[in-house]
Structures are given as C-alpha cells and as structure tokens.
Symmetry: C2
C-alpha cells in the first residue's frame, strides 16, 4: 500500500536531508533557512517515485537509496524557493506556510536556494554507490534540473506570461519545467535497481506521461481547487495571465487530457510486468494519486 | 611568461564555456544572459590557476583541462550574478559593464545564475577524465562553492554589514567566500596533474594564502582604487558599512598583511621545487600579480 510505503520511507528521506544540511553548513542562519523549506512538507512525490521504482524491482532500500532520493528533493526545494521570489512568481504562501523569503528575506532565500542546489550535487557525489552509477545519476540530474530542463522551462514559463502560446509550446515548457525532474525520478529508481537500458527507456517514457499529467492536474487545481485544500494561493495563473491547459483545451478538455495521460502511464507500467521480480502495485497507486477525484 | 601563458590558454577556457552553454541550453534568452556574463571578461584568475598549476607539473594542456577550468569559471560567474542582485549587493557595474540584472532583469539574472551553477556541475560530470578524478573534483568543487564554502561566506558577509566584526571573524568569512574557490583552483590543477596527497596538501596551503591575499587586496583597492581602473564601483564597502582589512588594521597594516601573505605564498611555492618536473615560474608571476604596485 502506498500509504504504508510512504509512512515507512519518506521520514528517512527528510532525515537524510536534515542531517546532511546540519553536517555541511557553516552559517547558522543559512542552515535554518534551508531546513525551514526542506521540512515545510509537500507531497514528496519525486523521492517517493525514486523509492517506489526501486522497490517495484524488489530492492532493499538502504541509506544510498534514501540519499539519492534526498538529493532530488533538495533540488526540487531549491527550485520552489527561487520560483517564489518577488522577482519571479512573487508567492507568499507555499504548502500552507509563508514562503522562504517572507520569513528570511530575499537575500537569504536566494542563498538558501543556491545552497540547497549545491548541497544536492555534493550529497550525490559522496553517496556510497559505484562510481559509474553515481556519475550517471549526476549527469542525468544536472541535465534535468539545468538549462536543458527545469531552469530553461522556468524561463519559458516567465516569458509566456501575458502571451497566448500554442499547445505544443505549452507542452514544451512543461516538459522542461516539471517533466524533466519527474522523469529523472523514475530513471534514478531504475538505475538504483541496476536495470537495463531498455527498462530505463520504458521508465523514461513513464516519467514523461506522469510529468504531463502532473502539470495538467496542477493547472486544473489552480482553477477548481481551494487555497485551504492546496496550501498555496489559487487562481495565480489567471493573475499572471499564464497560458494553461484549461485555457487552451477548456475545463473538460483538460480533464480528458489528464485521464488519457494517466491511462497511458498505466499501460506503460503493464509493459514492465514481464520483467523479473517486478511488482507495479505501488506505482499504480502513484498514478491513481494524480486522478482528479483524489484531491 | 604569464602573459604568454594567459594569451595562449584563456581563450580556450572561454571557448569551452560558450560552446557548452550553446550546446546545452534550450531557451535562447537564457543562453544570451549566461553568455553575456561569461564573456564580460575579468581576470579569469581561477581558471588561470588551474591551468598554471597543471602546467607547472609539465602537463600537456588538453580539452579536459580547459573544461575543468571552464566549469570553475562558470561557478565563479554565477556567484557574481547573484551577488550583484538588488536583494544582495545591489551593484549595477561589473567589469566595466552593466550587471546582468540591469540588462536582462532580475528574474532572468537569477535563472542565469542557477543555470550556470548547474551547467558547471554538468560539464564536470561529463568531462573525459577517470571516474575517480572526476568524482574527487565534483566533491571538492561542490564543497568549496556551497554551504561549507562560498555560499556560507556570502551569508556571513551579508550579516556582517553595519556591524563591527573581529579580525578572526573577517578571516573566517573571507576564507569561505573567496578562499575556498581559489584553494579549489590550486588543488584541481594538482589533481589534473595526478599529484600525491602530500603535494595536494601543499597546494591547498598555497591556495589559502593566495585567497587571503586576494581579499586583503580587494579591500584595499575598494579604498585606494578608481572605478575607471577596476571596472566596478569603488567605496562600496564604506557604503554598505562592511568591516574590511583596512578598517581593522589601518591602511598600512592591511598593506603589510598583504605583503606577508604573498611572501608566505612564495615560500610555499619554493617547497614544491624539489618535486620532479616542477617549474614554479608562472605561479610566482601569479603571486606577483597580487602585489599592490601591479594595479
């Protein structure tokens, strides 16, 4: 069961993040600011995927697995801190709490982001895995989070504000902004489970569909969700005049597109069923988590 | 001669940076903003040190050497872009040109910094070196540039504004803020030249003295230099009420401290003379470059 799996494993990920920050940060205020955002909760979807994929291939989850998951969540957390800055999305609420710069000021928020990003790669470079696995993870994570992934998507997102973009452009922005890191999560789990390049390709495809579903759902929730349920301000896309899936496809069209992506994701998981020792049940539950009725 | 060495080798470093940005960045405006700061000149002291140390041990400088030097300069450039932001030092002039955010706006400047930092680690993870060397460089660079190095020093520097700090505190801030990355430059050169841990220790010591000298000199120039000569605004420390070496030691005391650090650095270079195939002449010229009369 996903809920048992999460309750058992996600606290380990948070523990690895906090311990690594504690051990490797000289400035106390920097430590406090980074720890604040790292413990602010959230769904922990990315580390959950890393661990669930490894678990699906019957891996025993040991410290290096949690550390790889922790380094990914640190990258995700840095991106949220920077995205929320006044010069970017100017958000004051995140996961039901004031955003980092509302508490610590802009300078420390920028540096907390820089610090978490650098610490993520430091942790990954030190983790107790074979050199080739470690370097492959570093190559994929820097690519997914950097200028051919998340950072580029964030630029595209900013530039699209107030403009009408096509569905193809919107998908490109989101595949960079959120899809790349989610896809990395699936592949990292497969690499930790020492899977073949063929299986890694399938996991990559799974990640791409989940990434797209995630973004369509996020856009839908901004329209139909509440601040109370989501822990962040809603109707932000409208405020910033952003193009979204509900804009381009209509509310029902966007709901349909979400369903299609999730259905495809389930099919991709089925193709893995023939792999030795594969059990897709927790992965199927993660897909189900993204269905709209689950909000 | 240092001047010949620089003219021959530094263009290769810039070429590696620009090519890597070009090849690995999806967003055009992001590419432009990063390339702007990367080509804005500067002394290129850090990549120069990497290459000069490797050259002092008679290494033939090939593409991986230039790429390691380029990844370090990308980290340095990111730190300048973020330091200049309105929420940080709020500088509008850098190397005689408008700072990144003055041209591209704050959002793109933040993302250009994030992008360069991530690309630096991406480049280092992909460089054509043995896995163990590559991982050691990644471990040292993330540490030197992150929360036990540069990022932490930047926090300390911000917090020291308007306060009187002791000489010991000032040295701690600067050993993190500028010393760590300069020290990495010396060690990276030694690692590329496959030197023993003993030699790497000596190079580390050399880096620490050079780092301290560099900062004392920087503080002195802010008092006695001109904007025209330096390409950046002077008297900024006074404006931000920062503690500096001239504040704490007086102008002559700071000049004396600078001389002492450089004299020690020269002695450390002499201890390397007994190593096989070592030629310290370009390194001595780098030390001489930091003497005040050279400004």
């Amino acid at each position: 069961m996903l809920i048992d799996f999460s309750e058992k494993n996600l606290p380990q990920v948070e523990k690895e993040m906090l311990e690594y920050i504690e051990k490797n940060t000289l400035s106390n205020s920097l430590k406090e600011s980074m720890s604040y955002s790292v413990t602010a909760g959230g769904k922990r979807l990315r580390p959950l995927i890393v661990l669930a994929v490894a678990d699906a291939f019957q891996q025993k989850l040991t410290t290096p697995f949690y550390q790889v998951a922790a380094s990914l969540e640190m990258v995700h957390t840095y991106s949220l801190i920077h995205d929320d800055l006044p010069a970017m999305d100017n958000d004051d609420l995140r996961r039901g709490k004031p955003t980092n710069h509302k508490i610590y000021g802009e300078a420390l928020a920028i540096l907390a982001g820089d610090g978490l990003l650098t610490l993520a790669f430091q942790l990954l470079s030190e983790v107790n895995l074979a050199s080739t696995e470690k370097l492959l993870l570093l190559q994929l994570l820097t690519k997914a989070s950097g200028t051919s992934g998340m950072v580029s998507g964030q630029v595209g997102d900013t530039e699209a504000e107030g403009k009408v973009v096509s569905l193809a452009e919107l998908q490109q922005i989101h595949s960079e902004k959120t899809g790349a890191l989610l896809t990395y999560a699936f592949m990292a789990g497969g690499i930790l489970a020492q899977q073949t390049p063929e299986v890694l390709d399938i996991l990559q495809r799974l990640g791409e569909h989940i990434g797209l579903a995630f973004q369509i759902r996020d856009d839908l929730l901004d329209v139909i969700g509440t601040t109370e349920d989501l822990g962040k301000n809603v109707h932000q896309d409208q405020k910033l005049a952003k193009s979204t899936y509900p804009n381009l496809l209509g509310l029902n069209g966007a709901k349909e597109a979400l369903k299609n992506e999730l259905k495809t994701a389930e099919k991709v998981i089925q193709t893995l069923a023939s792999e030795p020792n594969f059990n897709g049940s927790v992965l199927n539950e993660i897909v189900a988590l993204l269905k709209l009725e689950e909000v």
